[in-house]
Symmetry: C2
Subunit: 347 residues, 2 copies
């Protein structure tokens, strides 16, 4: 494995180390060779070279087998409306340049954390689904215009863009409970009607998959009322931005959820949480989302045992109360970022 | 009062009658004259004249002081992809023709129904906010295109469109807890940046209002994690479609929530729930959302006592277990649509 490591901002560097250590430990155990190439991104890269996703970083990513990404973002940019470059633009540039058109976000609950869900336990305890978000099209990248009196964004999709993401979704459904929900707003949007039309054309190729269609407003409700309904959900970029975040919060385990972004070139694995600048350097950030993104990395390359071992270690750490502050049980010993990471490595 | 009554489809006609009866009873008590003009819409109007919002209906609405709307929609259209006219188009036509640019949706909990919320009670019991959704702009009405290989929608907003809806929002905030949350995706969308810019220009005119800005993905999470945070929330059409539905479901009282759509011409008052075709004619639909939309109607005309009396009657009916099936307590007597309506009228 040639891994590009992009630690980014805030707690990024701290959790990145834990991901790398777990990656190394698993590679050692299973006899895989692994090497790391470190590169800058986000606010860190703006400070250093004025670009949140510099060309050099892109080259490192392009030549790697996978990217282990942590988090970007710094409040100094949020509070400065005159800033021309922002860390988030690095994210968008990375997605576009690496052709990361499929964002895969498992929404999973952990038994010992169900009480942290804002939903009533009986609703959420059986929730286990995957949100697949199109990541390089739609209003994020369509033609834009803004002056003092008017502005627009264009929600533009082409057939190949829609086909390739739906293919990913149907294939995930085949590997899981064979239930795909295509989320759109076909009663209003032309782009959604094309999505739905293409999904209906493709569905007969996956006769074992039950495919249903849901309007995005209904999906936002259903996810709260009956999250266990979903198996695989697929949607366009903007709707996906909203629904994946909604999904992550209902699980009560937001700090533990990893994600993968895959597409035309090197895939990227990263926690869904942000850079939590306030916690930087305090050794309190939970490294599990980063560590589970390493599990997703192995699974992407069909190395199931490697992935399963990491998941087992994570479950064991939770069961044994080897937990960071925010999920600590009242009388548990206190573990920091490093201690949790080391426990997983030792396991 | 000259009221246009649009009963529409499914349970629409049944709940409409209850709304009208309550309107009449309150007008009688307070000495207001009221007259009703009935007009067709939705699937009913498609069946009769081939148009879900016929010109004649528009004229009736235009000449009225207010529209009392019930619900539109029929499954026979959902299952027929070849149908050229759909009931929902009547809704969109009504919004556009009457210039209903502001959709106001109070998210309110009823103590006795909190256990119906999918959220844990302690999170939702203090939730009390208003979602204000822009209703005649954005992707719903921007330029669209679709062929077999590509499609787009345009999220287009002009300064006057944004200013007038933000004005409504600031004024609501002034009448309430003086906290306005402007929801957008200004880190990605040009249209959102214009929204945010205009909101920032207007905020100094409302120095008593605390105005904050939130990305739509964060708002979708915050609404579940801490709904009591919100007082007044304002957003564009598509985001509003998603967030208002998410908001209504967290209250656990979806069947009880009314809404108002106001703008350039006659305002419209309606329940947020749909036409529930399966319940048509069974006398089981809850008339309270329709009845509370009559309260909103009075309040719109600054007739506070009239509105308050209706709200008091609704609270009393719930307390006395005069409730329709879906919110019936286990040992309560069974009340139908008519019986609940009559109880409120008598009260
Ligand atoms: C930071 C922002 C541009 C980004 C997005 O909207 O895609 C984020 O919200 C996400 O979901 O990864
Ligand atoms: C039926 C549909 C066109 C409509 C909308 O999207 O506005 C509905 O979902 C609503 O929110 O009133």
């Amino acid at each position: 494995f040639k891994i590009a490591v992009l630690a980014g901002d805030g707690i990024g560097p701290e959790i990145s180390v834990q991901g790398v250590d777990v990656m190394s430990a698993v590679c050692e155990k299973f006899g895989h060779k692994v090497s790391y190439e470190y590169a800058i991104c986000g606010a860190d890269a703006i400070d250093k070279v004025g670009d949140p996703f510099p060309e050099a970083t892109y080259q490192v990513c392009k030549e790697a087998d996978a990217v282990l990404f942590s988090a970007v973002g710094d409040p100094k940019f949020d509070n400065d409306p005159t800033a021309k470059v922002r860390p988030e633009q690095g994210l968008l540039a990375m997605r576009k340049k690496l052709g990361l058109f499929a964002n895969i976000r498992p929404v999973q609950t952990f038994k010992c954390l169900i009480h942290k869900s804002p939903l009533r336990a009986e609703l959420v305890e059986n929730a286990d689904f995957i949100c697949i978000r199109e990541l390089t099209g739609g209003m994020y990248f369509g033609e834009k215009y803004q002056d003092n009196d008017k502005a627009y964004d264009t929600n533009y999709y082409t057939r190949p863009e829609i086909e390739r993401i739906l293919k990913v979704a149907f294939e995930y459904a085949m590997k899981r409970r064979k239930h795909l929900t295509v989320v759109d707003k076909a009663n209003v949007l032309a782009s959604s009607r094309l999505w739905r039309q293409i999904a209906q054309e493709m569905a007969p190729n996956y006769p074992e998959v039950t495919t249903d269609y849901m309007f995005v407003d209904n999906a936002a409700m259903k996810m709260i009322q009956e999250p266990a309904f979903f198996d695989v959900m697929v949607t366009e970029n903007t709707f996906g931005d909203i629904l994946t975040d909604e999904g992550s919060v209902i699980s009560g385990s937001m700090g533990l959820l990893p994600s993968a972004s895959t597409g035309e070139s090197t895939p990227v694995f990263e926690p869904i949480h942000g850079s939590w600048p306030q916690a930087k350097g305090l050794n309190i950030a939970n490294p599990l989302a980063q560590i589970l993104s390493v599990a997703m990395l192995f699974e992407y390359f069909d190395l199931k045992e490697e992935g399963a071992l990491i998941r087992k270690a994570v479950d064991a750490s939770l069961d044994e109360n080897v937990r960071t502050l925010e999920i600590q049980v009242a009388d548990g010993a206190k573990y920091g970022t490093k201690e949790v990471g080391q426990w997983i490595v030792d396991y």
